[in-house]
Amino acid sequence: MNFFNEVIKIIVDYHGMLLEGLGYTMLIALIGTVVGLLIGIIIGIVRTIPKSKSAFVRVIQKIVDVILTVYIEVFRGTPMMVQAMVIYWGYAFASGGNTLPLIPAGLFIVSINTGAYMAEIVRGGIISIDKGQFEGAQSVGMNHFQTMFHVVIPQAIRNILPSVSNEFVINIKDTSVLNVIGVMELFWQATKIQTMNYQIFQIYVIISVMYFIMTFTVTRILRLFEKLLDGKNTYVIHGSQSDPNAEIKITEEAHG
């Protein structure tokens, strides 16, 4: 059939460009998601710092809170494509004509945009942790940061992993908007190939399959990661009544 031959010909002729696009798309989506998550976690930790007794520190806390709220609302409330244009050309405007290097610019835009969403996702994750976990940590003398770092955030991350995985998938697809500033991701490569052979339908079928393979693989891998974080369901009891060196492996969870 003609269509398949054309598809194969595009893959053969332009596999370099397609793979380069795929590479940049994955790179930007992966780093953007990880950095975005880190931004979200930091904001989550900062926002849950208990109110200080000192009035001066309380004012600073309030100011920080307002700044963070503005950041989250602005970046959630405007399209990433528009943010890309504003940041890229805003820099050019302010610097009198210099432009940002494209890949770092793309990484920055996706990270900061994802950070705004992640801040809310992490907040939800922290809220979902039982108050008793905080009190348990306080009762052994942990400060806020120790409590968050060792007790709350690890549990919150496990709970929000499905949402994080969702953000990752969205980022893989949404890096395509970076073509407006010329980042060489997969969609941008398709627009270039299109100007060379005019087989628009065939090209976009190919990159849709490529996008799908990326998103599907990532969701499967993150599922495995979730299972890994849950840890083993088994544990070993050390010693029995008759033999102090016995090791009894428990494979079933106790219920009730």
Binding site: K53, D130, G132, Q133, E135, G136, A137, Q138, S139, V140, G141, M142, N143, Q146, H150, V151, P154, Q155, R158, G231, Y235, V236, I237, H238, G239, I250, E253, A254, G256
Partner: protein, 248 residues
């Protein structure tokens, strides 16, 4: 023996307009085992939580070895390593094994090495009969087992006082005994214990002193024999009559 650990004067706590504690005066000496009894809503748990600053007192004073714990600049986190707390809902760290639960505070707060902390943790886990389960996660344990681990977690910090906030109220009846047994052993070790409890038998047999709280104040404070056999306050008589005759 009469070295005061806590000297509490005029302690009050309001939640909004709701006055929960209306001026508590109490001195607790080293090595005492004090049971705090009283009806629901009498302020027992709030009082205990104020002692660990999980609730910020509204007024009055709490002195710990003569030091005001609500003063600005008082090191609350260091204080909490000395005054441990055991909760009704255990509050074990769900993301850590039994051993790690008893180790993490020592490592991060007391800055002990991992080896040292594990040695201490295993010693106390042995004491509460949970060393065998050191690799289990909290979700794999029964309520009684969790509470024994929680006690070991407090003890691992080498605390001087443990505050027990209804430690057996969330347990199935057949598991209450194992926890009370551990607490009974502890009471002989010289540890200072304040126990909010509904277990009247424990209050009667184990504690050296019983406090009856009513309406946000200490209504009666005496030796267990006096409180249970010859209470002077009519409210105490009424309360004990109700809880001790619940089977009839």
């Amino acid at each position: 023996m009469n070295e005061p650990v806590f000297q509490i004067e005029g302690l009050t706590k309001n939640f909004g307009k709701n006055e929960v504690l209306k001026g508590i005066n109490l001195t607790v000496n080293k090595g005492e085992v004090v049971s705090i009894i009283g009806a629901s809503g009498s302020g027992k748990s709030t009082f205990l939580r104020c002692l660990n600053l999980l609730e910020q007192p509204t007024g009055g004073q709490i002195l710990y070895h003569g030091e005001d714990i609500t003063a600005v600049g008082f090191n609350v986190n260091e204080y909490r390593t000395k005054v441990g707390m055991v909760f009704q809902q255990f509050n074990l760290f769900n993301n850590m094994s039994v051993l790690k639960n008893c180790v993490i505070g020592q490592q991060k707060v007391l800055k002990r090495t991992k080896e040292e902390a594990e040695k201490v943790a295993l010693y106390y886990l042995e004491k509460v009969g949970m060393a065998q389960y050191r690799d289990a996660k909290p979700r794999q344990l029964s309520g009684g087992q969790k509470q024994r681990v929680a006690i070991a977690r407090s003890l691992s910090m080498d605390c001087e006082v443990i505050l027990f906030d209804e430690p057996t109220s969330a347990l199935d009846p057949e598991m209450v005994g194992e926890v009370l047994l551990v607490m009974k052993d502890l009471s002989k070790s010289g540890l200072t214990m304040l126990v909010v409890t509904h277990e009247m038998q424990f209050a009667k047999d184990v504690s050296s002193r019983v406090i009856f709280m009513d309406g946000g104040v200490v209504a009666e404070d005496d030796a267990p024999e006096v409180i249970f056999n010859n209470p002077s306050n009519p409210r105490t008589q009424e309360f004990l009559f109700r809880v001790l005759n619940k089977d009839i």
